[in-house]
C-alpha cells in the first residue's frame, strides 16, 4: 500500500491530496524561512488558531443561506478573514501598547480559538448542517475527501507556491537588513505584511490536510531543519522548500496507506524526523559533527600539553594524555617518550619559546593575538621572521642540571 501511495497509484483523490500536500509543504517551508529569519516563527501560531471563528461563522452563514455548510471554498474564505483580523490584532497590540509580541500572540491565539470553540458548540446545537466535517479541520483529515476539495487544495498549493517564488526577493532583503531595504525603497512593513499574507494562504490551504493546530509545524520545522545544512540564505530557502515538500508528500502517502493514520500528525512527525536527523548528522552544525570537532580539539590540546611536559622532563599523570601519546607512537604506555616523541617534544618547546618572544616584542603585536596554544608559529610567520626570532632566543644553552 505504502509503495503504491508513494508512486501515486491509490486513486485520483489520494494522488491529488499527495500532490497538494507536497506543494503546500514547499510553500510552507519557503514562507516559514522568512518568518524564521525575522525571528517571528510563532506569529504563525496565532494566525492559524485565529482561523477557527472564521470557519464557524462561514459554516453558520452558509447553512443560514440554505447551502451545504461544509463547502471547503466557503470555509477557507471565512478562515482567511478571521485569521487576517487576528493578525491585525497581534500587530496592533504589539505597536500600540507596551505588551511584547509573545503576549500579543498568546492572547489573540487563545481568545480567537476560545471564540471558535463557542461557535463550534453553537453549530453542534443547530443540528441543521452536517457538522462532522468541521472537527476534521482541527487536526486535518483527508479520509473521504471530495474530489472538488482535493482540486481546491492542489490548486491552492500551486498558487501559494507561485506567490512565494514571486515575492522571495523583497522578503529576503527585509529578512536580512530592514534598514537597507528601506533605503532602496522597499517598505519593510509592507513586505512583512505580504509575508504574513503568505503564511495566511498556507494556513488556509493546509486547513483540510494538516489542520489548524498543526499547520504551524510546517512553517517552523522545515526552515529550522534547513538551517543545519547551510549558512547561505538562498539555500536555506531552497532546502526548507524541499524538506517541507518531502514531508507533505511522504506524510500524505503514509497516511493514505493505512486506516487510523491522521494526515496532519503524520506529516508533522515525518518533518520532525527529518529535523532530528539533521540535528544529529548535519555536516557542520550537527551535534555529531560538533562532538567530533570537540574530540579533535581535545586530542590536540592533550598531545601538545603532554609533549611540552615531556620536553621539560616532567612526568605525565593524566591517563588520557598518555593514551593519546602512546597511540601516536610518541610515548610508551608508562609515559616514557619514544625517539619520535622526544623530537616532537623538542619542536613543541621550541615553538613555545618562539611564541614567548613574539609576545614580548612589540613588532609582532598583531601576530601575538593569534597564539592559542595549538597553532604552529610556522603557519603564521615567514621563515625570515622565524630566523630573526631564533636569533633573539640565541643558540642552544646548557641544560640546567
Amino acid at each position: 500500500m505504502f509503495l503504491e501511495a508513494l508512486t501515486l497509484q491509490l486513486g485520483y483523490n489520494a494522488t491529488l491530496v499527495a500532490v497538494g500536500a507536497a506543494l503546500l509543504g514547499i510553500s510552507a517551508g519557503v514562507t516559514g524561512t522568512f518568518l524564521f529569519l525575522r525571528k517571528r516563527a510563532l506569529v504563525a501560531d496565532a494566525i492559524s488558531h485565529a482561523t477557527l471563528p472564521g470557519v464557524g461563522i462561514a459554516f453558520i452563514a452558509m447553512v443560514a443561506l440554505g447551502g451545504d455548510g461544509r463547502n471547503l471554498a466557503g470555509l477557507m474564505l471565512g478562515s482567511a478573514l478571521s485569521a487576517w483580523i487576528g493578525l491585525l490584532c497581534v500587530q496592533a497590540i504589539t505597536r500600540r501598547t507596551r505588551l511584547a509580541e509573545d503576549s500579543a500572540i498568546g492572547a489573540v491565539l487563545s481568545a480567537f480559538f476560545g471564540f471558535g470553540v463557542v461557535l463550534l458548540t453553537v453549530i453542534q446545537n443547530m443540528q441543521a448542517g452536517r457538522q462532522a466535517g468541521l472537527d476534521g479541520l482541527l487536526l486535518g483529515s483527508t479520509a473521504g475527501m471530495l474530489m472538488q476539495d482535493a482540486v481546491i487544495i492542489a490548486t491552492g498549493g500551486a498558487l501559494t507556491l507561485a506567490l512565494v517564488l514571486l515575492l522571495r526577493r523583497p522578503m529576503t532583503l527585509v529578512a536580512f537588513d530592514a534598514d537597507y531595504a528601506r533605503s532602496i525603497g522597499v517598505d519593510p512593513d509592507r513586505v512583512d505584511l505580504m509575508t504574513m499574507g503568505l503564511v495566511l494562504a498556507v494556513t488556509v490551504v493546509g486547513l483540510k490536510i494538516v489542520g489548524l493546530i498543526l499547520i504551524v509545524a510546517l512553517l517552523i520545522i522545515p526552515p529550522v531543519t534547513a538551517r543545519f545544512w547551510t549558512e547561505r540564505s538562498e539555500r536555506v530557502v531552497a532546502y526548507a522548500g524541499v524538506i517541507g515538500g518531502l514531508s507533505g508528500f511522504l506524510g500524505a502517502a503514509i497516511s493514505a496507506s493505512a486506516p487510523a493514520l491522521p494526515t496532519g500528525p503524520i506529516i508533522v512527525l515525518v518533518c520532525f524526523g527529518l529535523f532530528v536527523i539533521s540535528l544529529f548528522f548535519a555536516p557542520e552544525r550537527g551535534v555529531l559533527a560538533a562532538y567530533l570537532r570537540h574530540r579533535q580539539f581535545q586530542r590536540k590540546v592533550h598531545i601538545r600539553q603532554g609533549l611540552l611536559a615531556l620536553a621539560q622532563g616532567q612526568p605525565v599523570y593524566e591517563p588520557l594524555t598518555i593514551r593519546l601519546l602512546a597511540r601516536e607512537g610518541l610515548a610508551r604506555p608508562d609515559g616514557i617518550p619514544t625517539e619520535a616523541g622526544r623530537a616532537r617534544a623538542a619542536r613543541a618547546l621550541r615553538d613555545e619559546h618562539r611564541w614567548q618572544v613574539v609576545h614580548r616584542s612589540p613588532d609582532y603585536e598583531e601576530v601575538s593575538s593569534l597564539h592559542d596554544g595549538l597553532r604552529d608559529i610556522e603557519t603564521v610567520l615567514t621563515p625570515d621572521q622565524i630566523a630573526e626570532i631564533d636569533d633573539r632566543i640565541g643558540g642552544p644553552r646548557e641544560v640546567p642540571a
Binding site: A100, D102, S103, I105, V118, V122, G264, I266
Partner: protein, 309 residues
C-alpha cells in the same frame, strides 16, 4: 434562581473556573513580564501526549497517573526546548514551535492508533474541557455547604485545583522578592547572589503544575487564555507589580464568572435552547477584557507614563 438549582449545577463549575483562572493568572504575570508568555501555550499542547501515554501505561483514565504523565511531558518539553535551543543554536520561539507541535502530533497519533473508544479521552475533550459536567449532585441547596455527607460528593477536580491554587500562591509569596528582582533586573539579582537560572526553571515548573491541574478540569484552551490575557490586561492598568497582580486576579475572576454565566444562560436569553462551551466563552471573555484594556487602559503606552486623567 433558587439555591436548590444553583448550588448543585452551577456553584462547583464556577468555583473550579475561578480557581483555575487565578492559579494560571498568578504565574502568568511573571511569564508575561519575562516575555515567556508562550511557555503556557507550549505546555498546554504537550499535556496531550502526556495523558495519552499515561493512559496507555496504566490503562485507566484516573486523575493521578494522567496528571503525573502530563507533568512529566511538560518537563520533558521544557528540557527538549532548551536542548534544541543550545545544541542547534536556534532562537527560543522556533525551538518551542518544533517541540510542541511534534509532541502534540505524537499525542494525536497515539490516541488515534490506540483503542480509546471505551473511555472518555479524545482530542476535542482535551482542548475544550468539560467544565459544565463538573456538577455537585449531592447538594440540595445552600445548606449542603455545611453538610459533611453532601460535601464528600464534591467533584474531586475542585479539591485538586484548590490545592494547586494554594501551592502557586505559596510559591509566589515565598519567593516574592527574588522573583520580582530577577524579573526586572536579572543582572542585579545575580549580583545579589540569587540563582536566577534555578528560579526561572522553578517558575516554569510551577506554571506547568498549574497548567496540568487546570487542564484536568477545564481543557487547554482556557489555560493559555488565563496565563496571558488577564496579566496582559493588568499590565496595561498599572505600573506597580503588586497592583498588576491584584488586577490580574480581578480580571481572571471576572472572566471565569462572566464566561460561565454567558455560556450557560446567554443562549437562553437569546432564545436558544442549549448552552455553549463554557471554556471557550471564558477564553473569549478574557480576550474582550484585554481588548478593553488595550483601548482604554491607563498605562497602555510603551513609555509607561499614565495618560491624562
Amino acid at each position: 434562581m433558587s439555591g436548590a438549582e444553583f448550588v448543585p449545577l452551577s456553584l462547583t463549575p464556577i468555583l473550579i473556573g475561578v480557581f483555575t483562572a487565578v492559579a494560571c493568572a498568578l504565574p502568568g504575570n511573571f511569564l508575561v513580564l519575562r516575555r515567556q508568555a508562550l511557555i503556557g501555550d507550549a505546555i498546554s499542547h504537550v499535556v496531550l501526549p502526556g495523558i495519552v501515554v499515561a493512559f496507555l501505561v496504566t490503562g485507566t483514565v484516573t486523575a493521578w497517573p494522567m496528571m503525573i504523565g502530563a507533568a512529566l511531558a511538560s518537563i520533558l518539553a521544557v528540557v527538549l526546548i532548551e536542548a534544541i535551543r543550545r545544541l542547534g543554536r536556534i532562537e527560543t520561539g522556533a525551538a518551542m514551535g518544533v517541540v510542541f507541535t511534534a509532541m502534540f502530533a505524537g499525542g494525536v497519533l497515539l490516541l488515534e492508533r490506540s483503542d480509546t473508544s471505551t473511555v472518555h479521552l479524545d482530542v476535542e475533550h482535551a482542548l475544550m474541557g468539560n467544565l459544565e459536567s463538573l456538577i455537585w449532585l449531592d447538594a440540595m441547596g445552600w445548606a449542603s455547604l455545611l453538610d459533611p455527607v453532601a460535601l464528600a460528593g464534591l467533584p474531586p477536580e475542585l479539591g485538586r485545583i484548590f490545592i494547586t491554587l494554594i501551592g502557586v500562591s505559596a510559591f509566589l509569596w515565598l519567593f516574592w522578592r527574588p522573583l520580582k528582582i530577577s524579573t526586572f533586573d536579572e543582572g542585579f539579582a545575580q549580583g545579589l547572589g540569587m540563582r536566577t537560572g534555578a528560579l526561572g526553571m522553578a517558575l516554569v515548573v510551577v506554571s506547568a503544575v498549574a497548567a496540568v491541574a487546570a487542564f484536568d478540569a477545564v481543557g487547554s484552551i482556557i489555560v493559555i487564555a488565563m496565563f496571558i490575557c488577564p496579566p496582559a490586561a493588568a499590565r496595561l492598568m498599572t505600573n506597580r507589580l503588586e497592583r498588576q497582580i491584584a488586577w490580574s486576579v480581578v480580571f481572571a475572576v471576572i472572566s471565569a464568572v462572566m464566561g460561565y454565566v454567558l455560556a450557560g444562560y446567554g443562549p437562553l436569553w437569546l432564545g436558544g435552547t442549549n448552552a455553549v462551551s463554557a471554556a471557550g466563552m471564558i477564553a473569549t471573555t478574557s480576550g474582550l477584557i484585554l481588548l478593553l484594556a488595550v483601548l482604554f487602559g491607563p498605562c497602555r503606552s510603551r513609555t509607561g507614563a499614565p495618560s491624562e486623567g
